[in-house]
């Protein structure tokens, strides 16, 4: 299909050189896009609704803190956070 450019509101047919260049650009664009993952809608929705990273880590720490086995398993992480909490009590 012949392509046009709208120049200042007026349609002008692309030159042969412009058509050739556009064919190359479109082929490159499609190849480039296929090489990159497109962000899916569910990814955006999840990202928007996940708690802040700090809140997620806090929930993780409390979950560990409530389970003796996990406290032992993740001892360094638990103790590092606990040390700061103890230093600055509520």
């Amino acid at each position: 299909m012949t392509r046009f450019k709208n120049v200042n509101g007026i349609n002008v047919q692309l030159t042969e050189a412009e058509e050739t260049q556009r064919d190359i650009d479109e082929a490159n664009a499609i190849a480039e896009q296929q090489a990159k993952p497109i962000i899916k809608e569910y990814q955006t929705n999840r990202k928007n609704e996940y708690p802040e990273i700090g809140d997620q880590l806090d929930m993780l720490w409390h979950s560990i803190n409530e389970d003796a086995a996990l406290k032992s398993k993740y001892f360094k992480f638990h103790q590092a956070i606990l040390a700061v909490k103890s230093k600055y009590p509520k």
Binding site: F4, K5, N6, V7, G9, D25, Q33, I38, N45
Partner: protein, 211 residues
């Protein structure tokens, strides 16, 4: 009670208007006719796409002149094919600069916090991440500022915001800026999608900004 009719012939005032002045009322003693405000946007041209065969929207030296230092392009564009990048190129001597890694740009997709950039690109990218869809309710709302195109002593730059709300009601926004690295006069700008044409009824309006 609201005034619905103004009988200008019935206004008997002694002040005389000069060409281009407007009637105004700033005080009881000030002249009735004064120069219109000189700031703001001057609409230069509106382009509306018809059919399905338009690939580029160009504004060239007919409108990008020394009359203004800066320009605003505002409108809404829909790609014919789904998931397209919105892009632009600048024009020298009315020809788009399409090669040579002539541009540097940065663009952020605010919905996903993803960021892309290039220091040697052949286009300036305005939208990425979640890309412009081709449903009638999608496309991109464009706001493109073209800065200093006619100056050879300062770089020609653009900064743009594009956004859309997809068919599921999810908003996607992009904030981008870039420019031509060479200090040259650029008397035009080309706006397009990376692949496929522009859908009918898409439109862009070019404004000159009065300093």
């Amino acid at each position: 009670m609201a005034i619905t009719t103004l009988n200008l012939r019935g206004i008997n005032r002694s002040d005389t208007a000069s060409s281009g002045q407007v009637i105004t009322a700033t005080s009881a003693t000030a002249a009735d006719f004064q120069d219109a405000s000189t700031g703001g946007l001057v609409k230069l041209v509106k382009t509306t796409i018809s059919g399905t065969s338009t690939t580029y929207v160009d504004f060239n030296s007919t409108y990008i002149t020394s009359a203004y230092n800066n320009y605003l392009i505002k409108g809404h564009m829909i790609p014919i094919t789904d998931n397209r990048y919105a892009k632009c190129q600048l024009m020298a001597s009315d020809s788009a600069v399409t090669a040579g890694g002539s541009y540097e740009y940065e663009s952020a997709h605010t919905g996903s916090s993803t960021y892309i950039a290039s220091a040697s690109a052949d286009t300036i990218v305005f939208s990425h991440g979640a890309l412009a869809g081709n449903a009638t309710t999608e496309g991109n709302s464009w706001e493109v500022w073209l800065n200093n195109p006619l100056l050879s002593t300062a770089a020609t730059t653009v900064h743009a915001q594009c956004n859309f709300i997809d068919g599921s009601g999810v908003h996607n926004g992009n904030v981008s800026s870039g420019g031509r690295k060479a200090l040259e006069v650029n008397n035009g700008i080309r706006l397009f999608y990376d692949s496929g044409n522009i859908a009918a009824d898409s439109y862009l309006t070019l404004y000159g900004i009065v300093a």
